[in-house]
Each structure stands twice: as C-alpha cells, then as structure tokens.
Amino acid sequence: MPLLETRGLTKSFGGLTAVLDLDLKVEEGEIVSLIGPNGAGKTTVFNLITGLYLPDRGDILFEGRSLVGLQPHEITALGIARTFQTLRIFTNMTVLENVMVAQHCRSKAGMWSAILRLPGFRREEERIRQKAIRWLSFFGTRLVGYRFDQPAYSLSYANRRRLEVARAMATEPRLLLLDEPTAGMNPHETQEMTGLIGRLRDEAGCTILCIEHDMKVVQGISDRVVALDYGRKIAEGTHEEVANNERVIEAYLGRKRACAKPGEPSAEPQTQT
C-alpha cells in the first residue's frame, strides 16, 4: 500500500481547472518531485492534500485512509506536514516558539494544567522545548543559541526557509510536502538544502513530496519525478526519463506553432487580512 495515493483528483476554480484526474502514488521512504510550469497546479495539489481545499472529485488516501473532508489540523495530526512557497512563518514570535507551536497536535496539556503549572504540564513543556531545539539544531548552528529568543522576522530569507522546514518537521510527520524549498536561495544554499532533503529522509525517516523548479535539485534528490501541465499528469518516471520526455519539454518550452500562454494566477491560497 502506498503511503499517499490520489485517485482521479480534480479541482477547478470557476472555469479554471487547476487539477484534473490526477493519479499520484508516493511509496513509503521515497522522495518524489513534482514539476511543471507556473500554473500547472502543483501547489493546488498540496493544498488539496493538506485539506485547505476540498476536491471536486476524486479521493486522497493516506495509509489507505481517506483525507477528504478532514480539517487541516486533523490531517497534520495524521502525519502530513508542509512548507509554503510564500513563506508563512509566525513573524512576531520567537524562532523557538515558531517550532514549538508545531508540537501543538503532539501535546495535550489543558487550560487548567497550564494555569496551575501541574507537573505533567511542566514535563510536557520541557519535552516540547527539547524537540524544538532538536529540529532547529538540524540546520547546524544557524538557528540555535541566541537565535532561539529572537523574533522570526529578524531571520534572513534562507534562514526563514530553514525555519519553515524545522517547524514542519516538529509536527512529527510521516510525509513532508516541500513547496519550492530552494526558492530565493543562492547556489550555495541551494546545494546545502539539497543535501538536507536527503538527510530528512535518511535520518528522520520522512517520505518527501517536493515541488521544485531547479532541475539540478530535482536531479539530486528525486527517486521519481512527476510532471504536471494544466493540472494533468504528463509524465512520470526517473529524472532522465521525465527530463527527456517530449511532452515535458513542450510544456516548458512550447512548440513552434504554439502561442505564448497567458499567465495564470498563483495557486497559493489567499487569506483575508
């Protein structure tokens, strides 16, 4: 049984079909890359899996269990975590708190035990802290020590990305969804992140589904690559197979007679502020 499976997954926004009849399988322990041109529906797939959108048709199975209709936090509790393409850290909380929040679904102290500081609460709080520190130290010395108590907004862009990964890992996921983990990073940082994604699988035992544009990164990390275009799966296989696939090349570069396609809106969910 695959860890994650989507069957005939479809989602449209008004007249725009973002995802159409997508069948996707991710086996336990795999690193799968999701590629495709802008507006291909990659992020929408992530939003469907994490419960931010409700699919129009089709089913999403996690360890054989349907996720459709579950609240996002319930899906997180089942063991799926994600990062965001546009960073969504908790800007005005400290670095350590950012990661500690993610332990919310793995802890259960109630209001009264927090107010009265019962021994159980103290033990749990210490455990949450230790876990958060562990995940922050995963990135070497960058996010540790004096950084713990600094507000998250004081971090550099690359460090914010790292913080997002640490936060996602602190929910103790079995499946990690990374949405463009190297966007906006310089080549050196990108290379480092590539190595890190491998370590997340090997050391933390996490299965990873990753949206990535940088084909070097895709080549470096993926066991399998899935290419989307206009919400449809157009190719699947090893990096070489997909990279040489005619339809993939066409989707990225266009055919001679094809006109330039109009730009489509980003699939990142919007919140009202």
Binding site: E97, M100, H104, S107, M111, A114, P151, N159, R167, T273
Partner: protein
C-alpha cells in the same frame, strides 16, 4: 542610519537591526530600561507590585482614593481578559463589556433582595464564570467565519444588544406564566440595588479597605493565570493564529477550538470581575457597562502594549489614576506644565539649544503680551486671587508665578474659545513649514495653548480628561505604536 544590510535580509529588518544596534551603542535610556526590565524575574515583578499595592491603604487615608485604587484593580483584570481575546488571539472583540455586565447582573440577580435570592458567593462565582464563558462561546461562534472588521461589527452589535437589554428588561412579558404584570428583571434604568456583600467562610467584605485587598488578590490571581496561559501551548497557539491563521492550521492547531477558548476565557475573566464589581458597588446600573468603558479598556490595552500582560497592567494603572489626578485643577496644572516642558525637552533632546530657545521664547512672548495689554487695554484684564485653601500648599508658588505671567481676560470663556481656534490654526500652519519658520510659529502656538488651558480646560476637568486621553493616545501611537511594553511588530507582506 547605517547601510551595511546583510545579504538576504529584507530592508525593514535591516533598518530595525540598524536602529537596535544604534540604540545599543548610544546606550539610550529606553533601551537600557527595557533591558533592565527584562532582567527582572517575573515573580519578583509581581511580588514587588503586590507589595506596593498592599501599602496603598496605609498611605491613603481617604475612602475616595482607596476606591480609585480598587477600580484600578478591576480595570487591570478587565484589560487582562480583553488582552487574551484582542491581544493574544488577535480577535477584535468590541462586545467585551457585555460579559462584564452579564457577570455583574448575574450576581446582582442571585444575591440581592430583587428576587429574594441570597446565594453564597463561592457558589455564584463559578456559576457566573460559567454563564459568561457560555455567552463567550455564543459570541465566539461567528468569529469562526468572520475576520477583522466584520468580526468587530458583529461583536459591537452584541455589546449594544446587551446594553439595551440591561436598560429595557424591567417590563418583560413572559408567555404561559399568567403574571398579573410584566416581570421586572434588570430594574431598567434604576438598576438593581442592595446587592449582597461578598461573604467567604463567615468573613464579610463590608468596607472599602477589605474590598481593596479582595480585589488585589483577585487581580493577582487573574494575572498569574493569564501569564501562565500565555506561556503554554495554548498561548503559543493563540499567537500563531494571530500571526497567520492558515499556517497555524496546517501546523496542527485546531483554530476553531482555540478561538472559542480565547473568547470564553476573556468572557469568564470579565464575568468574574463583574461579580466583584457588583458586590463592591452594592448595585448595578446599565451605564456601568456602556461603550465608554469599552473605549477606556481598549485605550488601556493599546497604551500598555497589545498582547503583553505587563502592558495591560501598566495601561490600567495609568489610565485609571491619571483622570483622577486631573480632577483637581492645581494638580492638573502641575501635570500639564510638567508634560509640556518635558515634552519640549524630549522632542529637542538632540538640539538642546533650540529646545531652550523655544521655552524661553514662549516665556518672553507671554511677558510681552502681558506688558502690551496692561499698557494698552488694562480694563480688559483681571488679576485673579489665590484661594486661601491652597495658599499654604506646595503648589502655591507655581500658581503665583502663573498668575503673574499669564493674562487673565474678563470674558475668559469667549476669549478662550477664540484662542483655542487660533492655537489649532497655528499648530496646523506650523506643521506645513520647515525648520526655523516652524519654530517661530511654535512660540505663539504654545502660548495660545497654555492660554486655552488656563482659561477653559482647567475649569472643566471632564472635558479636559477626555482631551488628554485622546492626546496621549495620539502621541503614543505616533512615537511608540507598540505601546509601553509591546515589542515592535512586523506586518506580513
């Protein structure tokens, strides 16, 4: 401002960092104070505050002053509760005072001759907290769908409805009961009077001092509870929702549950405070729970710093005590002139000479005006006498000096009104000009302002209080938008 921005750091952060470094290097007062404050153990802060507050009844020998101190405590606990909803969870709840009213009215109904109920306090308190928390759930449920401004409108409506019900539920027709006349539930504008004093274990709280200590303990307990709640997984989740609801959700935070919890905790605190208030005042009336109270509470939270426990406390203390100080015209004068002089020196702390020149200019201008008028139109002026009651007090010299400096027209009201318009006009014009010319305009503008203060404001403390409130908030939001204890916040792009 230094420009050595780090690679990958966005501009705002770089500027903030540079500002922080600069402040650190210059050893600025605010920065040093902040660091010293952060070093104090929170338990020590609370103990020191409690010790100081416990001394108040020994220093103050006037029941009225002690009542003010008691009200300060009640306002602190109210703003602590409001801080949970509006500060931690970031939900703009404008119906907050309704819970205060619900708590107070519930106690008044269950422990007064109104319905001949005299339930014991230890039973009523948990019950009322439960009732208010339930109402909090009711009001919180729309918050699951509404955000920002929309939530504010809905909650404001709820607050208004509650207020109207308190006022009009004195003639309620109940079906099926066949009462011979409409039922009087809230007493309408007459309120409910003769509410029982609080009795705990045979000990009756029947005078101001006893109530003061009761309120002190009550407020301290609320403070500790909310401080603990803030530093727990629940507090973190609340703040995460405030920062980014969607991200919080995907990180496993049950947003619905926690929002409702925030509303109920806030409502419960307000309800409990209402109980203490009703028992202490011995009566409840609808105006005790109107929009004015809400505005004052929000001012307290904003002034102290949204989302910080110590901010709610300091905001509560400042905004409860300041209006009382302003009641006494002599004291009000002291505060006004003190604030004016300190404000000028603070604004010109980098160019001390200009500041002193401005102060001197205002004084000389005043003397010139006085001399000119005494020479040309002596009939327009009067020379006020110092009332005998304060001739011996420590502010007599200040008043004497002021009387000598300031002109006192016969028709002080009319001239004062004109001067008010002139002062505002001059300030607005001065704002349009740059540097030297601006300072030149500041002199008559400030003089006109002190003239308005002497002729109009000092005589009418109720208006002055509101003006000072407003001016304080405007200044605060301009120079320190995060409030006294708040940390500067960044908006997500």
């Amino acid at each position: 401002m230094s420009t050595d921005f780090q690679f990958g750091t966005d501009e705002w952060v770089a500027q903030e960092e540079a500002r922080r470094r600069e402040a650190e290097a210059a050893g600025r007062l605010g920065f040093r104070l902040r660091r010293a404050w952060d070093r104090i153990d929170p338990r020590l802060r609370l103990l020191a505050g409690l010790a100081l507050a416990a001394l108040v009844p020994f220093v103050v020998h006037n029941d009225y002053h002690l009542r003010v101190a008691g009200f300060t405590g009640l306002f602190i606990s109210l703003s602590l509760g409001l801080n949970v909803v509006a500060g931690f969870a970031g939900l703009l709840d404008l119906g907050y005072v309704a819970f205060y009213g619900i708590g107070a009215y519930s106690y008044a109904l269950l422990a007064s001759p109104h319905f001949h109920q005299h339930w014991p306090f230890w039973l009523v308190l948990p019950l009322v907290v439960l009732i208010s928390a339930l109402f909090g759930l009711v009001l919180g449920s729309p918050s699951l769908r509404l955000r920002g401004d929309y939530l504010a409108i809905v909650t404001l409506g709820f607050g208004q409805i509650a207020g109207i019900l308190f006022l009009n539920m004195d003639r309620v027709n109940l079906p099926f009961l066949h009462l011979d006349r409409p039922l009087n539930i809230t007493g309408g504008p007459n309120g409910i009077i003769n509410v029982d004093d609080i009795r705990v274990l045979g000990y009756t709280f029947d005078n101001v001092t006893r109530y003061y200590y009761l309120i002190l303990i009550f407020t301290a307990l609320i403070l500790i509870a909310i401080y603990h709640l803030d530093r727990s997984r629940i507090g973190r989740a609340w703040r995460a929702i405030r920062e980014d609801e969607l991200a919080a959700q995907t990180m496993g935070v049950d947003v619905r549950r926690l929002k409702l919890l925030a509303f109920s905790v806030g409502a419960g605190v307000a309800g409990a405070t209402g109980v203490v208030f009703a028992a202490w005042q011995g009566a409840v009336f609808p105006p005790n729970f109107d929009v004015t109270v809400l505005i004052i509470l929000y001012s307290m939270v904003v002034l102290g710093g949204v989302g910080t426990v110590w901010g709610a406390v300091s905001g509560g203390v400042i905004l409860s005590i300041l209006p009382e100080l302003l009641r006494n015209p002599e004291m009000a004068r002291f505060i006004f002139y003190g604030a004016l002089v300190l404000g000028i020196l603070f604004a010109f702390r980098r160019r001390k000479l200009s500041g002193l020149a401005l102060l001197g200019g205002v004084i000389l201008w005043g003397l010139a005006v006085k001399a000119l008028l005494t020479w040309l139109r002596p009939a327009w002026l009067t020379q006020p006498q110092i009332p005998a009651s304060i001739a011996q007090s420590f502010y007599a010299p200040l008043i004497k000096a002021l009387n000598w400096w300031m002109v006192h027209p016969l028709n002080s009201q009319g001239v004062g009104n004109i001067a008010f318009a002139v002062a505002l006009g001059l300030l607005l014009v001065a704002y349009r000009f740059k540097a030297r010319f601006q300072y030149a305009l500041w002199v008559p503008a400030l003089y006109a302002l002190t003239f308005v203060w002497e002729t109009r404001l000092v005589q009418e403390p109720s208006i002055t209080r509101m003006l000072i409130f407003g001016a304080l908030l405007v200044l605060m939001m301009n120079y320190r938008p995060q409030g006294l204890f708040g940390q500067r916040r960044v908006q997500r792009q």
